[in-house]
Symmetry: C2
Subunit: 187 residues, 2 copies
Amino acid sequence: MMKVVVLRWGHRLRDERLTSHLLLTARAFGCSGIVVSDVNDWDILETMTKIVRDWGGPLTVEMGISWRKVVTAWKKKGGISVHLTAYGENIQEGNVLKRIIAAKKDILVLVGSQKVPSEFMQSQVSDYNVSIGNQPHSEVAALAVFLDRLYQGRELKKQFYEPKLRILPNPRKKVVIKFGERDTLKS
Amino acid sequence: MMKVVVLRWGHRLRDERLTSHLLLTARAFGCSGIVVSDVNDWDILETMTKIVRDWGGPLTVEMGISWRKVVTAWKKKGGISVHLTAYGENIQEGNVLKRIIAAKKDILVLVGSQKVPSEFMQSQVSDYNVSIGNQPHSEVAALAVFLDRLYQGRELKKQFYEPKLRILPNPRKKVVIKFGERDTLKS
């Protein structure tokens, strides 16, 4: 199975909650790693560390590296990059997703913001520019739908390694089991 | 076609960007209206007004109404409510989405936060409690994937009414046309 890592470009400290949501989405939707490029944000690192401790891993978290270095290293190792942008090829038209899947390569998903440099759309940076619809919305929404379609829904049943907590889906109640109390479940 | 409206519960003024992303996602993914319950936030109203003016409508925006009143009125008119929560039935298991579609009713999508009262999971409030996976992530991600699956991707090609701006999808460039300049396109 291909490896998918998300690179968050353009994080600002005041966007902490938005970036946290993006990174949580990357983890929950099957990515094996996340990179917050060009800036360090220790609160976000703490949030993600806590999530992995409580809900399971594995997940690599990198911060502060230049986006250019990450992209160059990724491509040197034979991976491809997919830039999510409202301006790119609409995932609902044409065959861009098919081409990405057919490449059978590890994928670095570049997630920017409105202010992403236009250089990001060029082939030295992005092998594919993909839009999740061509309307302004949210990089969190775009990432979720891209990954849901890439993995064809399988990611929503992913089992994480060594969680302390696990939700048991229930139509009417909040049911959370704690690791070590699983035997109770069988009764 | 059924009507879908999103109700955002638990908005706090410091969450402006996150709620904006949620509302932009609702619009871009085919909802006809949004409600921010129990609180007024004029910055968000301005953001959404500007988006509709530039990128097209229609979209109803309501604010400050009690969530209970909205839910009660919706149900009285024959609509159903779907609560997105990490604790609910996993959309990837069982048949909860099929049941929702089969109901052929207008849908009020309730989007809360971690602190949503447990009352939200009860049948007086939610007809369905749906989880987009059972991991902690983001209400923006959850809403996007729910709507993408509900509309089976058709929402990403939705044409909006009277936009001033429209993106032309392109694999390598940012191409935006302005309303009134469309004739140029034909050349």
